[in-house]
């Protein structure tokens, strides 16, 4: 049974949502991936910036993604330099629902938000987000309304 994490909520700026959706649709039918940066305030994670990164998986990029360690280290460095926190990873599931696979779960790290975009041609992209609990099981985070830039 899916369970919402009520103590930790997620909100995206409109710009970050558009960047992720564009990334997922442009790279379709392969999986896209990227880093999510922002701040956590009063129990809400505000994603204010996302940075796409090349899916370096050797083999079937339609069903797998992988981020190089060097790209990860650069993302941590960028967070330090920009005063933001590295809060999670996004990737797409082309032709599959925005639900983490067992492969996603095994590789997942604590703390991070794992945002998944489900992409089907001619259909609205579905965005859901997940986070490991203390038992290393994914629980769904609640995504608040997209925060517009004017706010």
């Amino acid at each position: 049974m899916e369970q919402k994490i009520n103590k930790l909520l997620l909100a995206f700026s409109a710009e970050t949502t558009m960047i992720m959706i564009n990334d997922a649709t442009e790279i379709f039918p392969d999986e896209c991936c990227g880093f999510m940066f922002g701040r956590e305030e009063k129990g809400v994670r505000l994603i204010s910036e996302v940075r796409s990164v090349t899916n370096q998986k050797e083999g079937d990029k339609r069903r797998r993604f992988e981020i190089l360690p060097l790209d990860y280290m650069l993302a941590e460095r960028y967070a330090d330099e920009s005063g933001l926190d590295l809060l999670g990873i996004y990737h797409s599931h082309p032709l599959h629902p925005a639900i983490p696979s067992e492969h996603d779960r095994v590789a997942a790290q604590p703390f991070f938000s794992y945002t998944i975009l489900s992409v089907f041609p001619e259909e609205k992209t579905i965005i859901r987000s997940w986070r490991l609990n203390d038992n290393k099981l994914f629980e769904e985070e609640q995504i608040l309304e997209v925060i517009s830039k004017e706010n």
Partner: protein, 97 residues
């Protein structure tokens, strides 16, 4: 002392410290001292055999150091060791790729 860079997802197990200073002569001894200083990180970093877990990579500078090499990779007072989580996943469970 050598410095170990702690990645964001593991900082809640190091009292939010982004780096920890450790002594030791090898990467293995440095990692074990980190675990000694910050015991909450252990189950997220090491397996039951006290080897670094499969989805964690250890870098000395820009060099990827495998579990087999950690015992013999020397460190100095200026060495920077990075703990790097492997970021991977995918949509389908039953894939050999």
């Amino acid at each position: 002392m050598a410095k170990i860079i702690v990645p964001t997802p593991l900082r809640k197990f190091t009292s939010d410290k982004s780096s920890v200073e450790v002594s030791g002569n090898t990467v293995t001894s440095a990692i074990l001292e980190l675990v000694n200083q910050q015991p909450n990180i252990k189950k997220h970093l090491l397996d039951e055999n006290e080897k670094v877990q499969p989805f964690i990579r250890i870098f000395v500078g820009d060099e990827d150091v495998s579990n087999d090499e950690m015992d013999t990779t020397p460190i100095t007072e200026t060495t920077v060791i990075s703990i790097v989580p492997a970021i991977a996943g995918g949509s389908v469970n039953n894939s050999n790729n």
